[in-house]
C-alpha cells in the first residue's frame, strides 16, 4: 500500500559572523618580518630552549615568558603530509583549494615545532615522503600582505629521490 510521504520542515540558515582577529605582539612581529624582510622568526624558551613557531607569549612546558627571538632558515625537513581529496575552503577568501593537493608540515632547520602549509608537489605518493628536504617559497616582496599567505607553499629541494622503503 502506498503512503504519502510525511512532510518535515527544515529552515536553511547561514550563520555568518564577521571577525577581525588581533595578531598580538608576537605574531605582529613575526608577520611584519615575513612581509617586509622575507624572514621567518621564532621564539626560543629561556629555560628548555625549544624554538617555537608560531612565536607565542609563554612556553607551554615551562610556563615562562618567551623573550628571545631567533631567525630560522627557509629550509627544513617534511615531518608528515597528506594528499587531500576534499575541496577545503580558505576562510579568508571563501574559495576552496582545488583538489587533489598536498598538505604537509616542515620542521625548519633549528626549529622545535613545525610549520604547516601547502606542499607544491605532484599529488603522487612517489613524489612526496616523510623526511623529504624542503624550502619555503614566499610571495614576491611587493605582493606580500602580512599574513600566512605571504608563504606561498613548501617545495621540495631539487635533486632528491624517494628512499625505497616498504611503508608509506
Amino acid at each position: 500500500m502506498a503512503t504519502k510521504d510525511k512532510e518535515w520542515i527544515s529552515i536553511p540558515m547561514t550563520v555568518d559572523v564577521p571577525y577581525r582577529f588581533a595578531a598580538g605582539g608576537y605574531m605582529t612581529k613575526c608577520l611584519t618580518e615575513l612581509r617586509d624582510n622575507g624572514k621567518i622568526f621564532a621564539v626560543e624558551c629561556p629555560k628548555c630552549k625549544r624554538v617555537q613557531l608560531p612565536p607565542r607569549v609563554v612556553c607551554a612546558e615551562c610556563h615562562v615568558k618567551n623573550e628571545k627571538w631567533v631567525e630560522l632558515p627557509h629550509e627544513g625537513t617534511l615531518m608528515n603530509f597528506t594528499i587531500m581529496y576534499l575541496p577545503l575552503t580558505d576562510p579568508t577568501t571563501g574559495k576552496p583549494h582545488e583538489p587533489p593537493f598536498v598538505y604537509g608540515s616542515v620542521r625548519l632547520d633549528g626549529a622545535t615545532s613545525v610549520l604547516d602549509h601547502m606542499v607544491e608537489v605532484e599529488p603522487d605518493m612517489d613524489k612526496v615522503w616523510v623526511g623529504m628536504r624542503c624550502r619555503l617559497v614566499l610571495r614576491p616582496k611587493e605582493e606580500r600582505i602580512g599574513d600566512l599567505s605571504d608563504i606561498r607553499y613548501i617545495e621540495p629541494l631539487p635533486g632528491q629521490k624517494k628512499p625505497q622503503t616498504k611503508s608509506r
Binding site: 540558515m13 559572523v17 605582539g25 609563554v58 610556563h63
Partner: protein, 381 residues
Amino acid sequence: MTERVAIVGVAQTRFAPKRSDVNYGEMAYEAISQVLKDTGLALPEDIDSAISCSHDIWDGQTISDIGITDVIGGHLRAEEKMAMDGSTAVFYGAVGILSGEYSCTLIMAHTKMSQTNRHIVNNVAFDPIYTRMLGFDFTSAAALQARRYMYKYGITREDAARVVVKNLANAKRNPCASQSGDFTVADVLSSPAVAPPLHKLDIAPDADGAVALILASEERARKITDKPVWILGIGTCYDAHYLGDRDLADTFALEKAAGRAYAMAGIKNPRRSVDLAEVGDEFSYQELLWLEGLGLCDRGEAGRFTASGATAIGGKLPVNPSGGLLSGVPANVAGLNRVAEAALQLRGEAGDRQVRGANIAVAQGHTGFCGQHQCVVVLGN
C-alpha cells in the same frame, strides 16, 4: 577534603574598547602573570587545575583549542573550558576543591568584544526555528524586559538612569574601567535611543579584557595569604529559554540561586547581613531588577532605594562600587569581574573605590538574554 574554599588572589587587565596590541593569549597572560606574582604561586607546581571561560562564537574559534591552554598552565595537565558567565567558573572551581580532587585552581575569563559584532553573536543564542530570524539580540530582548519591569512595578527611566549616573561616577575611581565620568540623569535620558526604553548610556559598552582569580582549599589558603576571602555560599539556577515562557519582570531563577547561596552561607536576612553587592548591570534597569531578585530590597522598590543614595559608595548597601558592567566589562568576563571586585573589597584592596567596613559581599553573574542563567556568590572575610 576541605570544608571551605577561599579566593586567595585576584588580578584584572584594564578594560578597553579595543586591545589591538594583544591577542587572546597575551591578554589572558597579563592577568594570569599578575595573579601569580601577587600570590607568589608558580605554575605548574603550585596549582593543580585551571578553568578558562569564554565563548566559541565570541572568540571566533572553538575555545577548546585556542592558545589559552599554554598561558593558563593547562599543557599536559588539567584545564577545563567553560562557555558561560565567569561567575559560574567560580562555582565549578569551588565544586572541584570541595570534592577533594583539587586544592588550588586558577580561573580566568577573557573576551575581546572588539573583534566581532555583539548583535550577530548574540543572535545565535536564539532558537533557529523560532525567534532567530527576527534578528533578536540581547539588547532587543532587554528592551522588552525593561518595558515589562517598568510597567509592572512602576519603575521609571529616571530610576534606571540614576544607576548609570552612579556607576559611571564610581568608575572614575576604578583604574580598570573602560568608561567613566560625571553624567546627569538628563544626559542618560537624552543619549541616543537604541531600543527604548533603553538609550545608549543604559547599555554596557563593548570591551576587551581578562580577569584571573585563584581559589584554594582552606589548608592551602592559610599558607598562601593572610587575607583569604571565603566563599560562604554559592548557587546557580536556570530560567526558561523562550522569552514567552517567562514574565520578564520576574526573577525566579535569581531568587532560587540567591536562596541557595544564602542558605549555604547561613544568611537568613540578606538585607541585614550583606554589606555590598556587585551585580550584573549589563543594562541600567538590570541593577534594579537584580537587587530585588537578590532580596536586597522589596519588589518594585529598587528605584526608590537607589534614589535615596543607599546604593552609593558610603550608602547603606553600596552596589557596584567598581562601576559595574556599565563602565565596560567584556561579556563572559562580566561575572568573574563581579566576584573579583567583591573579593578586592573584602581584602581592603579596592583602592579609591574601597567601601569601609565590608565583611559580607554578594556577587551576581548571569548568562543568556534577560538573565536566563543566574549565579550568586556570597563572600566573607
